[in-house]
């Protein structure tokens, strides 16, 4: 409650009662309050004329990288006696050094610098306001003003280095890359044979095939290595997320998405991202470092959410995914997703599912004894069944035990390069 109101109320109450009852004592008692309030009124500070500038360095950082924030404050007005300046820090950020609020006096033209360091979790954080409060020396009258100082930081998600992701999309782009295409040419993987033509390297002649004929030579053809068009879909539905006290399964999905994006962009592919949760957050396809930055920023701001429309994968936007395109779905998978994914596969999409294992996550959070319980064993069996159903439909599923390095999980899978069949599965 404001102090001047309390004082004013008491003063008037005492005077009124004193006059009503003609009591000198009550009237006299109001005098100290009147003087106290009067001194406050005489010392009321002038209008605030502060110039506040914010400097953030660096504006994008990774997890646990300290970010320095400087507030440069200049007093353009008159002498300010009791000044309180406080910066608003988003709750997920933690101050590691320096101070975010200060109590001081400022002479006209005086400048000061408030500096602090923060670290925080993945996210996009906006700094909009600085709270400035001026008051008289006794603190009876206080005036608070919110100064606008814009600033934004991105704390990007962390990533694991991945050596290679083996994908085999039906269509590739014209540009050179590392994805084996379905066209013969120069490359590493064997594609087929053709008749020798003048100019072919002798090293490419298939001598075994040529030995079958007297007058013909055959040359090996290899799969051309091209860049591909890849759609990453991140499952941000609340129903597929599991939260513990300090951890969330969704963070592992983000880690997987970041690692895969880094690798794919580095290999020259055209990548796009769809965050499927409360709404559809689409980062349109492109390649290069700027696209990587766009995707990382989208991942930094990704949050789980609920939506009745996007409860399952039935409403994936088809315009986002041309037929035969390569889809990488990062999702812990819900049992009700099987039907939607099989239907998607039947429409001709190449699907790779990276699946952070929710059961292993819960076992880690709840203790090893949880592993032996019948309910866990039944859940594991159900999950295996679901994955095998998906695999039978031609969807590649990588089940990721989240406490194993992501690159290691992809490694054995990478060895198995058999092309998977395109199956027509009725809906």
């Amino acid at each position: 409650m404001k102090r001047h109101i309390i004082l004013g109320f008491f003063i008037y109450l005492l005077i009124l009662l004193g006059l009503a009852f003609r009591n000198r004592g009550l009237l006299v008692l109001s005098i100290p309050l009147v003087v106290y309030l009067g001194i406050g009124i005489l010392n009321i500070p002038d209008e605030l004329q502060l110039e506040i500038e914010r400097n953030i360095h660096p504006k994008r950082a990774t997890l646990n990288t300290p970010i320095t924030i400087d507030l440069f404050i200049t007093n353009r007005g008159s002498y300010l006696e009791n000044l309180y300046i406080a910066d608003f820090i988003p709750s997920r950020l933690k101050v590691t050094d320096g101070e975010t609020s200060v109590f001081l006096k400022m002479a006209p033209g005086e400048k000061m610098n408030l500096r602090y360091e923060i670290i925080g979790k993945r996210g996009i954080y906006t700094f909009n306001q600085v709270k400035v409060t001026r008051s008289d020396p006794l603190g009876i009258f206080q005036f608070t003003k919110m100064s606008q100082t814009h600033g934004q930081i991105f704390i990007l998600p962390s990533a694991n280095a991945i050596r290679q992701i083996h994908i085999q999309p039906w269509q590739t782009r014209l540009y050179a890359g590392v994805v084996p295409s379905r066209q013969g040419g120069t490359g590493v993987e064997f594609f087929g044979l053709r008749k020798y033509q003048i100019g072919d390297s002798l090293r490419q002649i298939n001598w075994k095939a040529s030995a079958r004929f007297d007058d013909k030579l055959f040359t090996n053809l290899y799969k051309q290595e091209r860049a591909a068009d890849i759609r990453i879909i991140l499952d941000a539905r609340r129903r597929s997320d599991i939260n513990t006290k300090n951890d969330s399964l969704f963070e592992y999905s983000i880690l997987a998405a970041t690692s895969i994006t880094n690798r794919l962009i580095k290999d020259g592919n055209r990548v796009s991202l769809l965050i499927y949760g409360k709404y559809l957050d689409i980062t349109h396809p492109n390649s290069g470092k700027i696209q990587r930055e766009r995707i990382l920023k989208a991942l930094a701001g990704a949050e789980v959410g609920d939506s009745l429309v996007f409860e399952n994968f039935d409403y994936l936007p088809s315009r986002f995914m041309p037929i035969h395109s390569q889809i990488i779905l990062i999702s812990p998978l819900h049992p009700s997703d099987t039907r939607s994914l099989i239907a998607l596969r039947a429409r001709g999409y190449q699907i790779l599912v990276i699946c952070p294992d929710p059961i292993k996550f819960q076992i880690f959070a709840g203790g090893r004894e949880l592993e032996k319980q019948p309910v866990t064993r039944v859940s594991i069996l159900e999950r295996k069944l679901m994955i095998s159903q998906l695999q039978r439909a031609g969807i590649r599923v990588v089940s990721w035990d989240i406490f194993v390095n992501f690159d290691q999980v992809l490694s054995p899978w990478r060895v198995n390069r058999r092309p998977y069949p395109l199956m027509a599965v009725p809906r």
Binding site: I6, Y12, F21, R22, V28, I31, S101, K105, L114
Partner: protein, 188 residues
């Protein structure tokens, strides 16, 4: 430009533990003075029964100080002041009640100052700020004491009409007090 951010090897600009302890001690002395003077003031008029309510107020104030709650401090001030007003209304010991008035006002003031200081993570030149605060406070109390004592030395006779006229002025002015900060202060 004065960079107060990190280069402060002697730590002189902080609201130090020492300063905090000194402020707490002064507040404690002020509050104890209020309680004792109230107790004596009432006891001298054979009303020693106020011992228990005062203990209750002291308990609430201690909790408020520990929790750094502004509203508890204000609540205690209101309770104490009502207590003092009762004493004044019944013409109990004047000296004791005056002492209680000023010490309770000082306790409330310093409670508030400490709260504001504790709110900030850093205080630049707290010594200067505290000295300036005490100067202003003593000025207010000095003038207050003089003006409070004078009416007890002189006797003014009032008539019913004068009382009614003053009451009217007060009632009219009452509304302005609550509008005062918004309209008048913004012009400054």
């Amino acid at each position: 430009m004065t960079d107060y951010s990190k280069s402060d090897p002697l730590n002189t600009t902080r609201f130090t533990y020492f300063t905090n302890v000194v402020m707490i001690s002064i507040r404690l002395i002020c509050f104890a003075t209020t309680m004792i003077s109230l107790y004596i003031g009432f006891s001298l008029n054979n009303l020693a029964i106020n011992y228990f309510p005062l203990l209750g107020i002291a308990f609430v104030w201690t909790i408020g100080s520990l929790l750094h709650k502004e509203w508890i401090s204000t609540f205690v001030f209101i309770l104490t002041f009502v207590w003092i007003a009762i004493g004044f209304a019944f013409n109990f010991s004047l000296h004791m009640l005056l002492l209680a008035t000023f010490s309770s006002l000082m306790t409330w003031d310093l409670d508030y100052l400490c709260l504001r200081f504790n709110m900030a993570m850093r205080i630049i030149e707290p010594g200067d700020l505290i000295i300036k605060h005490f100067q202003t406070l003593f000025l207010a109390f000095g003038i207050g004491i003089i003006l409070t004592v004078i009416p007890f030395m002189v006797s003014v006779k009032t008539s019913l009409w004068l009382v009614l006229l003053l009451s009217l002025g007060i009632i009219l002015g009452f509304r302005e007090v609550f509008r005062y900060p918004k309209e008048f202060l913004n012009k400054r």
